[in-house]
C-alpha cells in the first residue's frame, strides 16, 4: 500500500496541508497512504461508496451523517485536501501549543470548531438551527427500532425544552454550546494520532 504514496504527494502540498491543518509531515504521508487505499477508483478523490466500504463505519448508526460531513455542500467527491481538513477537526488540542500564532485564524481543532462539527451532524439543512424534526431524525438513527415514536418524541421535546433559551423551539449553535459547556469536548472529539 505504501508503494506510490509519497511519490504522488508533492512537498509543497504537504507544507500547505501542514500549515492549514497542523498535522506533522509523517502524519500527512501516512494519512495520504490511507486515502489512496480507500480510493478504489484511483482518481484522487473519494466518493460516498468508498467510505461505505469500511465495515466498521457501515455499522455505525451515524455512519451516513459522518460521511456527509466530509463532502462540501452539494458535492459528491472529496479530494485529499478536503479529507485532511475534516480530519483536522479531530486533532487533540494539546498539539497546538507549539505553534501559538496569535495572528493565525482559529485552528480547525479548536473547541468551538469541534462543537460546530458535532452541531452540523444534527443540523442537516444547514440553517444553523436544530429543529425538532432534525433531532428526531438523529435520535431515530441512533436507537433504531428499539424505542417507540412517542417515547422518542418526548425525549426530543425534553431536550429542546432544556436547551432552548429564546423560545423558538429549536436549538441554535450558541444554545448548543451552552448545553455542552460541562462536557470535555476536547477529549471526546479528539483522536490520538501517532507521530
Amino acid at each position: 500500500m505504501g508503494s506510490r504514496a509519497s511519490t504522488l504527494l508533492r512537498e509543497e502540498e504537504i507544507e500547505e496541508i501542514k500549515k492549514e491543518t497542523g498535522f506533522s509531515h509523517s502524519q500527512i504521508t501516512r494519512l495520504y497512504s490511507r486515502f489512496t487505499s480507500l480510493d478504489k477508483g484511483e482518481n484522487g478523490t473519494l466518493s460516498r461508496e468508498d467510505f461505505q466500504r469500511i465495515p466498521e463505519l457501515a455499522i455505525n448508526p451515524l455512519g451516513d451523517r459522518i460521511i456527509n460531513a466530509f463532502f462540501p455542500e452539494g458535492e459528491d467527491q472529496v479530494n485529499f485536501r478536503g479529507f485532511m481538513r475534516t480530519l483536522a477537526h479531530f486533532r487533540p488540542i494539546e498539539d497546538n501549543e507549539k505553534n501559538k500564532d496569535p495572528t493565525a485564524s482559529e485552528p480547525l481543532n479548536s473547541r468551538s470548531n469541534k462543537l460546530l462539527f458535532a452541531f452540523r451532524l444534527y443540523d442537516l439543512d444547514r440553517d444553523d438551527k436544530i429543529s425538532r424534526d432534525e433531532l428526531l431524525q438523529v435520535l431515530r438513527m441512533m436507537v433504531g427500532v428499539n424505542i417507540s415514536d412517542e417515547q422518542l418524541g418526548s425525549i426530543a421535546d425534553r431536550t429542546i425544552q432544556e436547551a432552548d433559551q429564546n423560545g423558538d423551539n429549536s436549538i441554535s449553535f450558541n444554545e448548543f454550546i451552552k448545553v455542552l459547556e460541562k462536557v470535555d469536548v476536547e477529549q471526546k472529539m479528539s483522536i490520538r494520532f501517532l507521530h
Partner: protein
C-alpha cells in the same frame, strides 16, 4: 554487409549456448532432487545471502535519505492512531455530566453523538478489516519496485543493485521457473492419467501418492518456496479434515508438498479443469459441478462419505473462503466444522521480506499473480501443524470454528478477527448496526427492554464484531468451496454470473 554480422553471429551463438547450458544444468540440479524427494540446501543458502543484501540496501537507503535530506516514507507497523478500547456504555456515561446510572426516565444528552462520531472517524482513518485485503507494508526494502517507496532513486549503488536484481529476476529466474512449473504440471497430468488405468489397489494408491508428491515438489521449486514445517507429528491423518488460513492459491501447493490431501472445489473449464480431471483419475478429490455447489446437503454428504472412508486422504479446506493478507485470520465458515470428524488445524505464515504472497484478486488476475510470484525473490513461509481438535460436548459448530481459528491465529502470530472475509466484496449485514442501536437504546431507557437475546459474547471488545448466531443462515455453499478457485474462475470464464443470490452483492 555479411562480414558485419559474422562476429555478431558468433557472439549470438556463444550467448545462446551459454544460456542453454546454464538453464539446462539448473533444471537438472533442481528437478532431480525434486523427483527423488531430497533437498540439497541451495534455497536456504540463497535466502541467507538475499537477507544480507537487503540489510545492506536498507542501511544505504537510510544513509542516502539523510544525505539528501529527504523524508523517507516509513510505514509504522503500530498504526496511525491509538484507539480507545472502551465500551459504548462506559463512554456515554463519561459524556454525561450527571453520571447517574439507570433511571426510569430515558436519559438523552446531545453530547451522545460524540461517541459515534469519534468512533466513525477513527474507523475512517484506520479500520481492522479493509487493510487485510491489501498487501502488507514492509519495514525495509527488498529491492522489488512493487514494495518500495521510491527508494531506488536515492543512491547510485542502490539503483545499480536494483537494476541487477531486475535482470536476474526477469532474465534468469522467471524463465527457469516457468519452465519448471510447466514441466511439473505437465508431469502431473500425464502421469496421473496413466496411473488412472491401473485397477484400484495398493499399487495405484502408492503410485498416485508418489506422483502427486513429486509434482508438487517440482512446483514448489518453481516458485523457489522455502518452507519450514513444524510439528510434523501432528500431520493430518486419513479420515479427517485439514483446515488452514488462506493467503494465496499457492497454499495448496505448500501443504501438498508435504503430504497427500484431497482437494475440494468447483470444477472449472480450461487448463485448471484439465488438471482437476486428471488428478481425480488416480486419487479421490472432491470436485463439484457448478450446480451442485449450492446444494448444502449434497456437499455435506459427499464430505462426510469421504471422511468416513479411512483409506482416503484428509480433505483440505480453507474455511475463510477468500484470500486474506496474512496479517490476520478472519471468520471461519462453519460448514466444515459441522461434519463431526477430527479437525487438523494448520497455520501458514509467509515471510513478506522476500516477496509478498498475498493474492489481491481484485487487483490482479491469476496469471498476472503467478507471474509476480515467479519474479519475486522467493516465497518463504512456515507451516505449523497443530494438534488435532474435535468438537466438544455442548459446543456448536460456530464455537468450535472459533476455537480452531484462535489456535491458528495464536500459532501463526496473526490477529484473530471475527469479521467475515466476504466483506472483501460484499456489504456488511445490517444486523450489526442494529446491535449497536440496541446497545445505545439500552443506555437511554435502561434495562426495561427484554434481555432475552443472549449473545454469547456480551463483552465490549466484540460488541461491534460479528455475531455468529445469524451469520450463515442464508449462505448455502460458499462454506465448502475454497474461494481462490472461484476467483480464478471469475477471470477465466467471462460469462461468470453472480454466485447465488444469497451472497451479498459482489462489486469490483
Amino acid at each position: 554487409m555479411g562480414w558485419f554480422l559474422l562476429p555478431f553471429d558468433n557472439l549470438l551463438c556463444i550467448v545462446l549456448g551459454i544460456s542453454f547450458t546454464v538453464g539446462f544444468s539448473s533444471l537438472l540440479v533442481i528437478v532431480v532432487p525434486a523427483v527423488l524427494g531430497v533437498s540439497i540446501g541451495i534455497r536456504r543458502l540463497y535466502m541467507k545471502s538475499l537477507l544480507k543484501v537487503f540489510e545492506w540496501a536498507t542501511v544505504r537507503m537510510e544513509r542516502g535519505a539523510k544525505e539528501k535530506n529527504q523524508h523517507l516514507y516509513k510505514p509504522y507497523s503500530n498504526g496511525i492512531i491509538a484507539k480507545e478500547l472502551s465500551s459504548l456504555e462506559q463512554e456515554i456515561q463519561e459524556l454525561r455530566a450527571s453520571g447517574t446510572t439507570l433511571s426510569s426516565e430515558p436519559e438523552f444528552e446531545m453530547a451522545d453523538i460524540m461517541y459515534f462520531c469519534r468512533r466513525g472517524v477513527e474507523s475512517i482513518v484506520d479500520d481492522e478489516v479493509t487493510k487485510r485485503f491489501s498487501a502488507q507494508e514492509l519495514e525495509s526494502w527488498n529491492l522489488l519496485t512493487r514494495s518500495n517507496f521510491n527508494a531506488r532513486h536515492i543512491s547510485l549503488r542502490l539503483s545499480v543493485l536494483w537494476g541487477l536484481g531486475l535482470f536476474i529476476r526477469y532474465g534468469f529466474l522467471l524463465p527457469l521457473r516457468v519452465t519448471l512449473a510447466a514441466s511439473g504440471i505437465g508431469l502431473l497430468v500425464v502421469l496421473t492419467t496413466i496411473v488412472g488405468f491401473i485397477p484400484s489397489g495398493w499399487l495405484r494408491t502408492y503410485l498416485s501418492e508418489k506422483i502427486h508428491l513429486m509434482s508438487y515438489r517440482i512446483c514448489v521449486r518453481s516458485l523457489t518456496a522455502i518452507i519450514t514445517y513444524h510439528n510434523s507429528e501432528n500431520k493430518p491423518k486419513n479420515g479427517g479434515i485439514c483446515v488452514a488460513n488462506h493467503t494465496t492459491p499457492i497454499d495448496v501447493i505448500i501443504l501438498a508438498n508435504d503430504g497427500c490431501y484431497s482437494m475440494v472445489g468447483q470444477i472449472h473449464g480450461g487448463l485448471i479443469g484439465v488438471v482437476q480431471r486428471a488428478m481425480v483419475k488416480s486419487s479421490p478429490h472432491i470436485w463439484f459441478e457448478r450446480s451442485e455447489v449450492k446444494d448444502r446437503h449434497l456437499v455435506a454428504e459427499r464430505l462426510s462419505n469421504h471422511v468416513a472412508d479411512k483409506t482416503k486422504h484428509p480433505i483440505l479446506i480453507f474455511p475463510e473462503g477468500t484470500c486474506i493478507n496474512n496479517t490476520s485470520v478472519m471468520m471461519f465458515k462453519k460448514g466444515s466444522f459441522e461434519i463431526g470428524c477430527t479437525v487438523y488445524p494448520v497455520a501458514i505464515k509467509y515471510d513478506p521480506r522476500f516477496g509478498d504472497a498475498f493474492w489481491n484478486s481484485s487487483k490482479f488476475g491469476m496469471v498476472n499473480y503467478l507471474l509476480r510470484m515467479m519474479s519475486s525473490w522467493a516465497i518463504v513461509c512456515s507451516v505449523w501443524y497443530l494438534p488435532p481438535m474435535s468438537r466438544e460436548e455442548g459446543e456448536d459448530a460456530v464455537q468450535f470454528a472459533n476455537r480452531v481459528k484462535a489456535a491458528i491465529a495464536t500459532q501463526g502470530g496473526l490477529v484473530d478477527l471475527l469479521w467475515d472475509g466476504g466483506l472483501k466484496r460484499g456489504k456488511v449485514k445490517n444486523t450489526f448496526k442494529e446491535e449497536q442501536q440496541k446497545l445505545y437504546s439500552k443506555v437511554l431507557v435502561g434495562d426495561q427492554e427484554d434481555q432475552g437475546e443472549d449473545r454469547p459474547q456480551e463483552d465490549e471488545e466484540e460488541e461491534e464484531e460479528l455475531e455468529e448466531g445469524d451469520q450463515n443462515e442464508d449462505r448455502p455453499l460458499e462454506d465448502y468451496t475454497p474461494r481462490p478457485l472461484e476467483d480464478c474462475s471469475l477471470r477465466l470464464q467471462e460469462e461468470e454470473e453472480e454466485r447465488g443470490s444469497e451472497t451479498p452483492m459482489k462489486d469490483q
